[in-house]
């Protein structure tokens, strides 16, 4: 205590207290705050699951429990949720695998979250949807030839099966992304159709009426594809007639390659936010440091100065 008593009136004491308090709150918050789970859907990129792997009855159970409250038991929709009979399995897969459905609050835009059910449940749900709810095969199908997210360890019983699955996934992913050869086409398609909402880097952006275009870095190629063909939320629909599957491959490959591109300009890339962040740094780091130096070199005055 004596040590503190002797120093508490020091000119720097106030700053020290503020810094300590900020550090306490910062560390405390970091320790207590819920960790942000990285949303990852967990399908193996593969062909459509065969009839033997799915169970329509279990899918019905999932639907009745998690979807029917808003979308009704026959998928015809209620005041809280739209009619699902014509949206197609791609929309179902996109909404559920990105964790946007089941929604807690149908009135507001859903952020990306970890998927609420297991991969098997989703497959069952989609099988049930295709068998019982979908009408006249309306709506886009799931693009099973487009790679989905990387497999997760928890989905596999032993290490060997997991590693094999990862290898298979990587081969497929690289084949898809490197199969695109026309950067110019992908870039133009992205910058003409997507960038005015999702931003040039795919980092997302603000929209009108309280909506926002989400960042698409966590989205798998298949989810991007499904978003384009199903047009979730405020997003327009880009059907395979408007942007052909090969063009979609170019576009998705452009986004994913750009995302994976290292930041050649320095280790601090400022989240690729651009000029707002750069201006902020120029003032609060660049100019502030230089002014601090000006204060420093003019502070010491010798007698003959």
């Amino acid at each position: 205590m004596k040590w503190i008593t002797a120093r508490r009136r020091h000119p720097l004491a106030g700053y020290v207290v503020v810094i300590l308090a900020l550090a306490l709150f910062g560390v405390g918050y970091a320790a207590l705050a819920p960790t942000a789970d990285q949303a990852q859907a967990q399908t193996l990129a593969a062909d459509a699951p065969s009839q033997d792997d799915v169970n329509v009855l279990e899918g019905k159970e999932v639907f009745d429990q998690t979807c029917a409250t808003c979308h009704n038991y026959d998928g015809s929709g209620t005041a809280n949720g739209p009619d699902l009979r014509g949206v197609g399995p791609a929309a179902v897969d996109f909404q559920v695998s990105t964790g946007r459905m089941p929604s807690m609050d149908p009135d507001s835009q859903m952020p990306r979250k970890p998927m609420a059910m297991s991969e098997q449940d989703l497959q069952n749900l989609i099988a049930y949807y295709n068998a019982q709810i979908r009408t006249d095969d309306l709506g886009p199908d799931i693009p099973y030839d487009v790679p989905n997210s990387a497999p997760e360890r928890s989905e596999f019983e032993d290490e060997e099966a997991y590693e094999a699955a990862v290898e298979e996934y990587q081969t497929e992913y690289e084949a898809y992304v490197e199969g695109a050869e026309d950067t110019d086409m992908g870039m133009r398609l992205y910058l003409t159709n997507c960038a005015h909402c999702h931003g040039w880097s795919g980092g997302g952006g603000a929209l009108t009426d309280g909506r926002w275009a989400p960042e698409i870095h966590d989205a798998s190629p298949r989810e991007i594809y499904e978003a384009m063909v199903s047009g979730p939320g405020a997003m327009p629909m880009f059907s395979d007639g408007v942007i052909e599957p090969e063009e979609k491959q170019e576009l998705i490959a452009y986004v994913k390659t750009l995302q994976a591109e290292p930041d050649a300009g320095g280790i601090f890339a400022l989240e690729r936010v651009g000029q707002v962040a750069e201006g902020f740094i120029a003032w609060v780091v660049g100019l502030a440091l230089i002014i601090a130096c000006a204060i420093w070199i003019t502070a010491k005055q010798r007698a003959h100065d």
Binding site: T183, D184, G199, G205, D263, A264, G265, G266, G286, L287
Partner: protein, 550 residues
């Protein structure tokens, strides 16, 4: 004179040879001994000078490889991702500087960071000059030169930003063209002339390049030299202090002390700029990709110094757009694009003369004001900062909306309200703070400073002992000028022969009197205060004496 002060014989010979012919010794002696007042805020302009030097040097480096051509080529360089993509030669040569020229990427980033710091240091330097009243006679011309440098620096930055022909630069040029097209009657002609046809044409990069590397830098250099020569001739202003008067400058001699400090300061400025450039990515044109007229993206802004104009465009409503004889007059573009910057630069340029007109003060000032001692001027400065700052923030409203999860439209309405209320609130609060500080100055002068020592009097009363201020502090506090105006003098409406002055009865005379009243009315006088005469100092004295002091 002792022998040790003599230079070696060989040097003396050369020195005498030169001096016999050019008579430099006297001028040199005088200028090397020139005194420069010592205060950190007097170094702010130097940051701008040094950033400008860095810009010149790195700019020369970049011109060695940059090709200001809009001819379309298929990229075949070493940046793999964009191979086979059609782009302009300007963009391709910038990629070449980034990826093939040794150190090119670093130099390009130094150039860009130095540009951001250059304009930022101009702003803080200008604010320092404004708030201390250093623009007053005899320095009005130098203030005007400073305003011109500020304006030119913005345009220079905008054009430089447009040269690489990447996605954001193309969007910036498109906005520039939009503002031009909004000009009634002449707009399309100016645009067609500048672009050599329809946007984007094939000439704009070449033309902006000439402006960016030749015309505007030459003007900037000339103005900066003039700025310094006038400064040199008039000598630097100084803060009030013992021995400092309008006729005497106190400070460090140019040589050696100040020259060493200033030289070291250059290297520090360069180190910070180079450090930022080495570690923080700026304007990654290779990630943006080349500009095509169909490309458009959200989340991109101009560099910070154009932000206030971007913000004005974003929040100005379109309610006043007119159509006259079938011609559209888009005021929603004209006002933000021309009127707002006109107001800003016009206001800055006019202020020294407006203030002189209000106060009628024609005397020369070499000792600057402490900002609190000119509360109305300080308040106006802050309201200017608020006005500029709100527009600046509004320029990034999409990023703010996304980052802080505020509705985009709501930010527009918030900024619209703030831009109207903010400057007034800023003025009022600042003026009250200034007057509060004046009151505290008066108290410090009267009572000395609070020592933190608590004493108990024989009567049981506790007091905090006040101690005497240093002579320097007393001098600074007592030097507070009383702001007056000749418009409020008793004989203001009669001339020296006692004849009524017709000017005083006219509208401008009345306006001047009203402004002068507003400018001078709030002041905490210290004329009646004797230093250290306050009763606190005498608490420890005997009871009887204490009563007498009360």
């Amino acid at each position: 004179m002792s022998k040790t002060t003599q230079a070696p014989k060989a040097l003396r010979g050369v020195g005498n040879f030169i001096d016999d012919r050019f008579h430099l010794a006297k001028t040199g002696e005088k200028n090397l001994r020139k005194v420069f007042p010592n205060h950190w805020s007097f170094m702010l302009g130097e940051i701008a000078l040094y950033s400008f030097i860095i810009l010149l040097v790195t700019g020369v480096f970049l011109t060695l490889w940059f090709k200001p051509s809009m001819a379309e080529i298929i990229y075949d360089g070493s940046y793999e991702r964009l191979q086979g993509v059609p782009m302009s030669e300007a963009y391709a040569s910038t990629l070449y500087i980034d990826f093939e020229v040794r150190g090119g990427f670093l130099v390009r980033q130094i150039h860009h960071w130095a540009a951001l710091i250059f304009v930022a240091s101009l702003v803080v330097h200008m604010l320092r000059v404004f708030f201390t009243g250093a623009f007053r006679k005899p320095r009005e011309i130098n203030w005007l030169i400073g305003v011109a440098i500020f304006g030119l620096a913005m345009v220079e930055g905008l054009f430089g930003y447009s040269l690489p022909d990447d996605l954001p630069s193309g969007m910036g040029v498109r906005i520039l063209q939009g503002v031009m097209m909004a000009l009634p009657l002449v707009g399309p002609y100016i645009s067609m002339f500048l672009f050599g046809g329809e946007f984007p044409g094939e000439d704009i990069i070449t033309r902006l390049y000439m402006l960016h590397i030749l015309l505007i830098p030459a003007l900037l250099l000339a103005l900066i030299v003039a700025h310094f020569m006038i400064l040199w001739h008039q000598k630097h202003t100084q803060y009030p202090g013992q021995g400092r008067t309008d006729k005497t400058v106190v400070g460090t001699p140019m040589f050696p002390a100040f020259a060493v400090k200033a030289g070291g300061f250059f290297f520090f400025t360069f180190a910070v700029t180079a450090g930022l450039s080495a570690f923080v990515q700026i304007n990654p044109i290779h990630l943006f990709g080349p500009f095509t007229p169909t490309s458009i993206t959200s989340g991109l802004q101009p560099d910070w110094y154009m932000g206030f104009m971007e913000g004005a465009l974003r929040i100005f409503p379109n309610w006043f757009d007119l159509t006259v004889f079938g011609y559209a007059i888009p005021t929603a573009v004209l006002v933000p694009g021309l009127v707002i910057p006109g107001l800003l630069f016009g206001g800055l340029a006019a202020w020294p003369f407006i203030e002189q007109w209000i106060t009628g003060d024609r005397s020369a000032h070499n000792v600057v004001d402490r900002p609190r001692n000119a509360p109305v001027r300080t308040g106006i400065g802050v309201s200017g900062i608020v006005f500029y700052g709100v527009l600046w923030l509004a320029g990034s409203n999409d990023v703010l909306s996304e980052t802080f999860s505020i509705e985009l439209y709501l930010t527009t309405y918030i900024f619209r309200v703030l831009i109207i209320l903010g400057p007034g609130v800023g003025f009022y609060i600042t003026k009250r703070i200034c007057l509060g500080l004046q009151r505290r100055d008066r108290e410090t002068l009267e009572h000395g400073y609070e020592s933190g020592t608590i004493q108990q009097l024989p009567s049981g009363e506790f007091i905090e002992v006040h101690k005497h201020n240093s002579d320097e502090t007393v001098h600074v506090l007592k030097s507070k000028p009383t702001i007056t105006s000749t418009a409020l003098a008793d004989d203001a409406d009669v001339d020296d022969k006692g004849v009524e002055n017709p000017e005083a009865r006219k509208g401008t005379g009345k306006l001047r009197r009203a402004l002068a009243h507003w400018y001078t009315k709030d002041n905490v006088p210290i004329d009646d205060v004797e230093a250290h005469s306050g009763h606190h100092l005498h608490h420890s004295a005997a009871e009887g004496e204490k009563e007498a002091v009360h």
